[in-house]
Symmetry: C2
Subunit: 324 residues, 2 copies
DNA sequence: CTGTTAGCGCCTTCAT
DNA sequence: ATGAAGGCGCTAACAG
């Protein structure tokens, strides 16, 4: 069933049908006839054929590392919720942080003339090392979440992670904490920024800087905290680069019968749902993933609308609960 | 840049270029010329134009309720990991469990001649109430995860949730537990099936049936357990309909200084990452979401390949850790 | 306002 | 093996 079939049965020309489909003015009489036939056959115009003409399939892509992480799934969710009501289809790409994978996804998107791409995370900055690819992305509206791409139409939405950790650190200092430890998760651009926020604040107040590193989430926090306790070092607070790490730390402290939020404060990062899955509820820095991802989608829409957008900076918020 | 431009510059006909693109036999000499021009311009054939001819955009859709739940994001992840290497693009649809939303997504998919759809969860069975829509889905390969749609080309991949809870219950009984409580989360088809698995097992062994209901995750488990403890009822084990509920229960038990896994056993459901975010690690029923979602994708591929597939039934597995 | 016609970029017969 | 021509379903100019 195509526009010709409809036209024939309604006894009009295809352009009349096309006009009907695109809400252009046609005589009420013809409109009724066309409408009737379309309803009769449940006819839906082919978006593919429309796409061939308009050069747009009304699809946008979200590139993430791994949808299984709440951070990414939340981002993908918000983006879909923002764009799909406007008729866009949202394609999801799990790159696993792998370069080849990422490039393959991008090739695939290029083939369908993707309307826009949203990159979640600074990890995608590696694309700047592929100038040839970058040039091919020049005409595509792109939004980078916490990243920066050197194409003509790329806009960034940043959340200042360093500031986030500064806020957390200042809060503890002003609360009178003197021995604040820091457990860093991984060694990425972002995690180093966070650590520097902690470090600089400690130095500002003349307090000792104690940074531990881990590459694991819950177990990483648990083990690091175990080591801290074993070391007999003074401690009245600990900041963790990720909520899950903080959960591990809290679990360890509780087992050692140390009152979390009283004897030792714990602050996490992300303000994820995890902060509600422990007792006491965890204080955490909200990096606004819901807001930034929604904002990214909105920015993309404006770009698609031809607007010229500048980079956006958002401030993370310290979300105080009971663990600090 | 299109196939004509390439043909002109390579001094061949467009059909030669087309043949090159589709790996058909052409003279090595021409092949080289075409290849050179294609490389020179980074030419990629338009999947839209190809789609207009082939009537396929090589995209499949995953319909979920809410990607923010690990269950759904894991499913979407596995499906993408299975299909994207084969060149399929994966569209994500968050229906929020809303009928109108779902229908709108489906309309949108129909317009691009979607190659296949995977529905995650029995909630999508409501589509059976829309016979007109169903008929339009007749020619589309569909896989239902734990659901059943009455279209010509719909296949289901089931996991027997009732059996899962029977396994959990039997395990506790055989361990010598006599006072096994059950905390049910929500009141869906699936949650009722689970509860019945528990109930029937208790009855089989002449043990008391004690079911509590909650509509919340962590807090639901925490509060229910608080009430159980207050009631002074005998308890040596508790089964929860969801891991998060079990986490809340564990948290409550620990605060009451009751040894989880010794005095009171706790078993959750889903075998999610959450089972590793508590101490002791949580015993849980693995409903094989990773496997079923991957299987769903594989089944879909076979259907796209023309194979005739029958429904698949998988057995959940009791995943024993330290809480029971 | 309506209909005719020429593309959009590709694939696919069908001759050559 | 290669090329010419028609068609996929729709939109957009252009006449009428």
């Amino acid at each position: 069933m195509n526009i010709y079939d409809i036209a024939k049965e309604a006894n009009v020309s295809i352009s009349t049908v096309s006009k009907y489909l695109n809400n252009k003015n046609i005589r009420p009489e013809l409109k009724e006839r066309v409408e009737a036939v379309i309803k009769k056959y449940n006819y839906v115009p082919s978006a593919i054929a429309q796409g061939l003409v308009s050069k747009s399939m009304k699809t946008i892509a979200v590139m993430v590392v791994d949808l299984r992480f709440p951070h990414y799934s939340t981002a993908a969710f918000k983006i879909d919720m923002t764009l799909s009501p406007l008729g866009y289809r949202v394609i999801i790409c799990n790159t696993l942080g792998d370069v080849k994978n990422s490039l393959k996804y991008i090739e695939s998107l290029l083939k369908i003339n993707i309307d826009g791409i949203i990159f979640i995370g600074s990890i995608f900055n590696f694309l700047n090392n592929f100038p040839a690819l970058l040039k091919r992305l020049d005409n595509i509206p792109i939004v980078c979440n916490n990243g920066k791409l050197n194409t003509k139409r790329a806009v960034s939405v940043f959340v200042d992670d360093k500031l986030g950790m500064q806020k957390a650190s200042e809060y503890l200092v002003k609360k009178g904490r003197k021995n604040i430890h820091y457990i860093q998760y991984l060694d990425t651009t972002s995690s180093n920024l966070k650590a520097s926020g902690y470090k600089e604040t400690m130095e500002k107040y003349g307090l000792p800087v104690k940074i531990y590193h881990t590459t694991e989430f819950f177990d990483g926090g648990y083990d690091s905290m175990t080591n801290i306790l074993k070391s007999k070092e003074k401690i009245d607070a600990v900041i963790c680069g990720e909520d899950l790490v903080a959960m591990g730390a809290i679990s360890c402290l509780k087992e050692a019968n140390i009152a979390v939020g009283k004897e030792v404060d714990v602050i996490g990062y992300n303000a994820s749902e995890y902060t509600n899955l422990c007792a006491p509820r965890m204080t955490s820095v909200d990096n606004l993933i819901e807001k930034t991802s929604e904002e990214s989608a909105l920015v993309l829409l404006k770009m698609l609308d031809g607007e010229d957008i500048k980079d956006i900076n958002l401030e993370p918020i310290l979300c105080i609960k009971d663990s600090a």
